[in-house]
Symmetry: C2
């Protein structure tokens, strides 16, 4: 059991041991409830066939929500990013979860991420704008550029979220590339 | 001496004590060289009468450098921000150092920062753009807005550096306001 816990992210050997001893101190019922929750979640949570996000229902609640804007799709790397965007509360469009980024160095090509279903989804849709919100890393940028090149001929507007100084941040502590992007991305006020 | 060192930023009691003992172990010459460097720097470094940056020569090297673009001024809060911007190497215009931000809560008004000299400087100049690079804090934003309102009637373009996800950052760990700004500031690619 210690070995199994140790394989989880953020759980080192010490913590795995501590958790394992805690589980041993639980009643049979409690331990079974924990084990069941893992099996149940694994069984009931699947990928949305439309957007690729994790969901219990297919299509997911966001894809089925007709009160959301149907003309804008935000493309993100992972389900965690959907959670982050939803916290902002300002975005009321739809999502598309790639489950990764294109990374030739690691042998991940366009066909290895959830991209084909985006192309299919955009055909016969009335989507006006695709907001690419992959992370501002080398892979995230490369993926954004790849998608932009792929989609733009269809006439759909493709935008990229802004890079710059985080709110509450300090120029003095910003790295040079971020400061350069902040300068390049300056807007009239 | 420990008390004096302790007053400096980032130097706590323990470190002050350690530094003080180190100074006592120096030769007379070395100790005098240290003391002299403080007095000399304090005596020779002054504010540039044009931009307000720290300098040994007045006007400062940046203000006198005719190879720099004379039609764009970047407004920053402190001399440290000039250092940060210069590291970027992409900005070749001039600076204006405010030495603070407008902060009514702390009783700092527009007249308490180096702002009047900016207005004077912009008259009879051929400055086309003012890039406001104050920090994205409440005071920094308020100061940016104040300056924009003050300058815009003169027809000079006033821009603000971008807020967003720092390069190499992760959507998942971005705070909500930064993510909102990244979304609002999205640009077509």
């Amino acid at each position: 059991m210690i070995n199994e816990f140790n394989k989880l992210p953020g759980i080192g050997e010490k913590l795995a041991q501590r958790v394992a001893f805690h589980v041993l101190s639980l009643s049979d019922q409690e331990a079974e409830a924990l084990a069941d929750s893992i099996v149940q979640a694994k069984r009931s949570i699947k990928y949305c066939s439309v957007c690729g996000n994790l969901t219990e229902n297919d299509p997911c609640d966001i894809c089925r929500d007709t009160s959301r804007r149907q003309d804008v799709i935000c493309v993100v790397e992972s389900p965690k990013d959907v959670v982050a965007m939803e916290k902002v509360k300002e975005f009321s469009g739809l999502y598309h979860v790639l489950h990764g980024t294109i990374s030739p160095m690691q042998g991940v090509g366009p066909d290895d991420i959830n991209l084909k279903s985006l192309i299919v989804r955009l055909q016969d849709s009335n989507v006006q704008e695709l907001i690419i919100a992959t992370n501002p890393t080398i892979e995230g940028e490369a993926t954004a550029m790849y998608i932009a090149r792929l989609i733009k001929p269809s006439g759909i507007k493709v935008t990229r979220i802004a890079n710059g100084i985080p709110i509450g941040g300090d120029l003095e502590y910003a790295d040079e590339v971020t400061l350069l992007k902040a300068l390049e991305g300056r807007r009239e006020i």
